[in-house]
């Protein structure tokens, strides 16, 4: 039995193995995490709400199942937490906004329901940028989450609380959402793994929308393998989400597929994004050289992949988000604009005065860009690029028009609809984590997870935790 001091740093896979072998009590695990939250969350503000009693009672049920040999699977008894845009029945769901400060959904989001069905223990609800776009903001009822590697640093967003909580050992995994990079930014800046699954693979029912033609729900955890275990539970057709697509999971599930090895895979490196379009810092350029060497050592063939400029993807992505997000929030932006954070207004309000033709052209351009990017997968199994142009910046240096004023490396996969994940592949000299982005063809999620897992194993990055 491990001491309670390190239970919070178990991976989901390790904890599941110990619970199955009856070497770990789900109640002890939940208590260790709740104690850790009580001690550390005041420095990180990752949680907006902690559901301690419910967590303990769910963990007790899991412990009973374990003793009876009736575990449902690897998530039974595993403590998780959810970005506060996921509806949770009877538990306040605010989107980190004054607008929904007292919103208590009657039903769980489909993903939350599926995780509950799998026996997961919900620890609480996590910070986000307001409605998954407006932040970090200091003019809201709750402060923004802080990066556990350095609390003066930005977590990335919008799944900021999930990134901080998983990295700091305040949850073994969780749910985020990704419309323009909101899973991959915090995964990169907080040094964890996060996958934006193929659009339509995971239900968005009960997830408060931002931009419905781009929104994607997905898992975040310490490792790619843990993301795969979470994806096994949440992937699958949901007829109540109009964008949900029937799909077949890989043989044995994503958890098994993540460990299948990468020898012989054809990897395309999109250098132009971080060398030319948005030049990255020296440490990221070095990290990308290391990643290329590492992939070759793993038996992959590596070649440069060319694709349209980053700004094309970002133009389509940002214009679509602006138009759709404004439409969703129009009534409240007209009636009480001051109820939103200034960051939200700056990022969304211009959608009310943009031309309809621009929105339509953005959608038409999206289709063309998606076809061009996805055509690369006839030559490559996956594409690899940086997750961010540098390590986590200072929280105080974030500008209100971030995302509008400069492109991001994440937008291409939102535009193409394919899966994309960020894994930690190393650290900058100042100790901050660096993310590697892996992009796959639509429904190539298993291959993306396998590359992520292989990179984590080969880089040894998973043995280092923030010293908080």
């Amino acid at each position: 039995m491990r001491s309670a001091d390190v239970l919070h740093h178990l991976t989901i896979a390790d904890a599941a193995g110990m619970i199955r072998a009856r070497r770990l009590s789900p109640v002890d695990l939940a208590r260790a995490l709740l104690d850790r939250i009580e001690r550390v969350n005041p420095s990180l503000d990752a949680y907006l709400l902690v559901t301690a009693q419910t967590a303990i009672s769910t963990a007790r049920a899991a412990e009973k199942a374990a003793m009876q040999g009736a575990l449902k699977g690897p998530l039974h008894g595993i403590p998780l937490a959810y970005k506060d845009i996921y509806d949770t029945a009877g538990v306040r769901t605010t989107a980190h906004s004054r607008i929904l400060e007292n919103n208590v959904p009657a039903e769980d989001a489909e993903t939350v329901r599926r995780l509950g069905e799998a026996g997961a223990v919900m620890l609480g609800k996590l910070a986000t940028h307001e409605f998954a776009i407006g932040g970090p903001a200091f003019d809201l009822p709750w402060p923004p989450a802080r990066n556990p590697w350095d609390t003066e640093r930005f977590t990335g967003g919008s799944s900021s609380g999930t990134g901080a909580a998983v990295a700091a050992g305040l949850a073994l995994g969780g749910l985020g959402s990704d419309t323009g990079g909101s899973i991959r930014f915090p995964a990169a800046y907080c040094g964890i793994a996060g996958i934006k699954p193929t659009a339509g693979l995971v239900s968005r029912r009960g997830v408060i929308p931002l931009s419905p033609s781009l929104d994607t729900a997905g898992p975040m955890a310490w490792t790619a393998e843990d993301c795969a275990l979470l994806l096994d539970a949440i992937a699958g057709h949901d007829p109540a989400d109009p964008a949900s697509v029937p799909s077949t999971p890989p043989p044995g599930g994503y958890g098994v597929a993540a460990k299948r090895g990468v020898k012989g895979l054809r990897v395309g490196i999109i250098r132009r994004f971080y060398e030319t379009d948005l030049p990255a810092t020296a440490e990221v350029l070095e990290q990308m050289e290391d990643a290329e060497r590492l992939l070759k050592d793993l038996g992959c063939t590596v070649a440069t992949a060319d694709c349209p400029p980053l700004i094309s993807f970002n133009a389509a992505n940002r214009l679509i988000i602006s138009g759709e997000a404004y439409a969703l929030h129009e009534a409240d932006l007209i009636a009480r604009p001051e109820a939103y954070s200034r960051a939200f207004r700056v990022r969304v309000m211009a959608g009310g005065v943009m031309r309809a033709a621009d929105y339509i052209q953005a959608q038409r351009h999206r289709r063309a860009l998606a076809a061009e990017l996805n055509a690369l997968f006839s030559r490559f199994d996956v594409l690899v690029t940086a997750s961010t142009p540098g390590p986590a910046p200072r929280l105080a240096d974030q500008t209100l028009d971030e995302g509008l004023s400069r492109p991001t490396y994440s937008a291409p996969a939102n535009v193409s609809g394919g899966p994309a994940m960020s894994v930690c592949s190393g650290f900058a000299p100042n100790g901050l984590p660096l993310g590697l982005q892996i992009i796959g063809p639509p429904f190539g999620d298993a291959t993306v997870l396998a590359v992520g897992h292989a990179v984590e194993e080969a880089s040894g990055s998973r043995s280092r935790r923030p010293a908080i």
Binding site: A89, N103, V104, H365
Partner: protein
């Protein structure tokens, strides 16, 4: 444009809007405009498919608007019957707020229903 959009903004909010609008104009200028008329628009409305068993349009499919799938996000609470929703929507006693700012006690989604 601001007036036509129905927005009532103070000077600071107008200044913020001007900055973000300029960003959108710059981004929109990056979009190609010379597509052929015959290029398929990105939005294609798909009517509900008829059931394979009956060629006649009889029962709505699960994707049909008539099937009324559960609305997502904030819309759900607004569409739910207020009384039923209020009865179901009691916060779990275990929930306790975290962080520095303590939120007010959770209420039924009546407030949300009002805003729609």
């Amino acid at each position: 444009m601001i007036r036509r959009a129905g927005l009532t903004l103070n000077a600071g909010q107008k200044a913020d809007l001007a900055v973000s609008f300029q960003h959108l104009v710059t981004l929109a200028a990056k979009l190609p405009r010379e597509r052929k008329l015959s290029d398929e628009p990105a939005f294609v409305f798909l009517p509900p498919l008829p059931s394979p068993a009956s060629p006649e349009p009889a029962k709505p499919s699960p994707r049909s608007p008539a099937a009324k799938p559960a609305p997502t996000g904030p819309a759900r609470a607004a569409k739910a019957k207020p009384k039923a929703a209020a009865a179901k929507a009691k916060p779990k006693p275990a929930a306790k707020p975290a962080g520095k700012a303590r939120p007010k006690a959770a209420k039924a989604p009546a407030r949300q229903a009002r805003r729609r």
